[in-house]
């Protein structure tokens, strides 16, 4: 997408990069995260936050890390977006060991309505992988609940680490524009309508997201994937 709207925002975020001291924050993130990489895995959804975290770790700590990516299946994550995410991960972390686990139930349309099996499948996978630390791209600014979690959270079978906990949405976008960090193109389509501060990459047409109004927005912006998650034309902007 190359138009005035994106160009103006690019200028704004590049200006913010220095103003918001994003470089300092990135160095601090790298220093903090490096302590957990030997026994940990970097969980990457493919969204903007996890991609920024991955980019910081790979470029400033080390590149031979373990990356974990969860594929939600075609009915929750259309294939065009999923393929783009995998390509982005491979571009940023080319030397990393990438573990991709697939949610089998996500190959059925019912996955959009029945979400309880997701939790069981996801958490049992994390337990099976057996890593001590899970590095996640969660930020304090996202919600009061996430703020309350803190930067290091001890769970029963692992410890959750949130390296970019102190990043704001401006910091994240500034980092993306400054370092050309790849993120799915669908972000720009949604950001135009929802705003840069509100745009999030979540599962598509997922009724679990209904309380956030997400399926309704998906039905208007990503209507091609409503009945056919294999449609490739929707990502064209």
């Amino acid at each position: 997408m190359s138009d005035d709207w994106l160009g103006r925002w690019r200028e704004y975020f590049l200006a913010w990069y220095d103003e918001g001291r994003v470089e300092e924050k990135a160095l601090e993130v790298a220093d903090f995260a490096s302590r957990f990489l030997d026994e940990g895995q970097v969980s990457v959804s493919g969204g903007k936050d996890s991609m920024v975290m991955l980019h910081i770790i790979v470029t400033r700590c080390r590149s031979d890390i373990v990356v974990f990516h969860w594929d939600h299946g075609p009915w929750l994550m259309p294939r065009a977006v999923e393929n783009e995410i995998r390509c982005n991960i491979a571009t940023v972390a080319s030397k990393a060991k990438v573990i991709v686990e697939t949610y089998n139930y996500g190959s059925r349309p019912e996955a959009r309505v029945v979400w309880r099996p997701w939790y069981k499948a996801f958490f049992s996978t994390l337990k099976r992988l057996g890593y001590k630390y899970h590095l996640l791209g969660i930020r304090a600014e996202e919600s009061s609940r996430r703020r309350a979690r803190g930067r290091v959270v001890g769970r029963r079978h692992w410890v959750e680490i949130h390296p970019i906990y102190n990043f704001t949405w401006r910091d994240v976008w500034a980092y993306i524009f400054k370092h050309n960090t790849p993120v799915p193109n669908i972000y720009y389509k949604y950001a135009r309508l929802l705003g840069w501060n509100r745009v999030r990459l979540t599962t598509f047409f997922d009724l679990e997201m209904q309380r956030y109004g997400q399926p309704q927005v998906d039905s208007v912006l990503s209507w091609r994937w409503k009945h056919n998650p294999l449609d490739r034309t929707n990502s064209a902007l």
Partner: protein
């Protein structure tokens, strides 16, 4: 049956749950409400209706000759966001904020600030006119004021533009009925639009098409 042009003049923007509103589904909805009366409001969840009421619209094969909505002026999409959370005088004891009266939710509605919504269809003028006058509002979130109709006009036009106008598809048409098309995807093309049995590979509205 005559070719018709139906124009809704709006007093508030239209909230959307899909990029277009289907005229035949609107008419089927009104007919169903008429047919079922109060029972319309207590339909079963799994299979709400087992048959669609007859609508006064002509069909070509099994495709109703009725266009999707044409918004005028063609303004871009906007969003209305509303965060409902408990700022009530809460009762004593444990209450759930995940369900029921105190449930928190975030409303994110996509709307079009249109002034007019136009449809083309082929149907019975008198009956269509009677039914469209029963429509108080269009689109989604009508309960909070979206899509209110100021007036509606139905007039006869020369050409049948419910399916194709100037070589452009005016609604989803299954590609099996077409000779050539520019763009296609899986869409519902006949009422009930929520049913998976109505979904087929269809031409996308407002793209080039040639009927077989």
């Amino acid at each position: 049956m005559e070719p018709l042009e139906v124009t809704f003049y709006l007093s508030t923007p239209v909230a959307l749950g899909f990029p277009w509103i289907y005229f035949d589904s609107l008419i089927a909805h009104i007919r169903l409400k008429e047919e079922l009366g109060e029972r319309y409001y207590s339909l079963p969840t799994k299979i709400p209706v087992d048959s669609v009421p007859a609508i006064p619209i002509k069909h070509w094969k099994d495709v109703p000759i009725a266009s999707v909505s044409i918004f005028e002026p063609q303004a871009g999409l906007h969003t209305f966001s509303y965060f409902k959370r408990g700022d009530f005088p809460f009762p004593k004891g444990k209450i759930s904020r995940a369900s029921g009266f105190f449930k928190d939710f975030y409303l994110k509605t996509v709307y079009v600030p249109a002034v007019k919504v136009k449809f083309y269809a082929t149907g019975e003028l008198k009956e269509v006119e009677r039914l469209v006058k029963l429509v108080p509002a269009l689109g989604k979130e009508r309960n909070i004021g979206f899509g209110f109709i100021r007036k509606v006009e139905v007039r006869e036009v020369e050409h049948e533009w419910g399916l194709v106008k100037d070589s452009m598809a005016m609604r989803p048409i299954p590609v099996k009925y077409l000779k050539a098309y520019e763009d296609a995807t899986y869409m519902a093309y006949k009422p009930p639009y929520w049913s998976k049995h109505s979904v087929d590979l269809c031409v996308v509205p407002f793209t080039r098409v040639e009927l077989a």
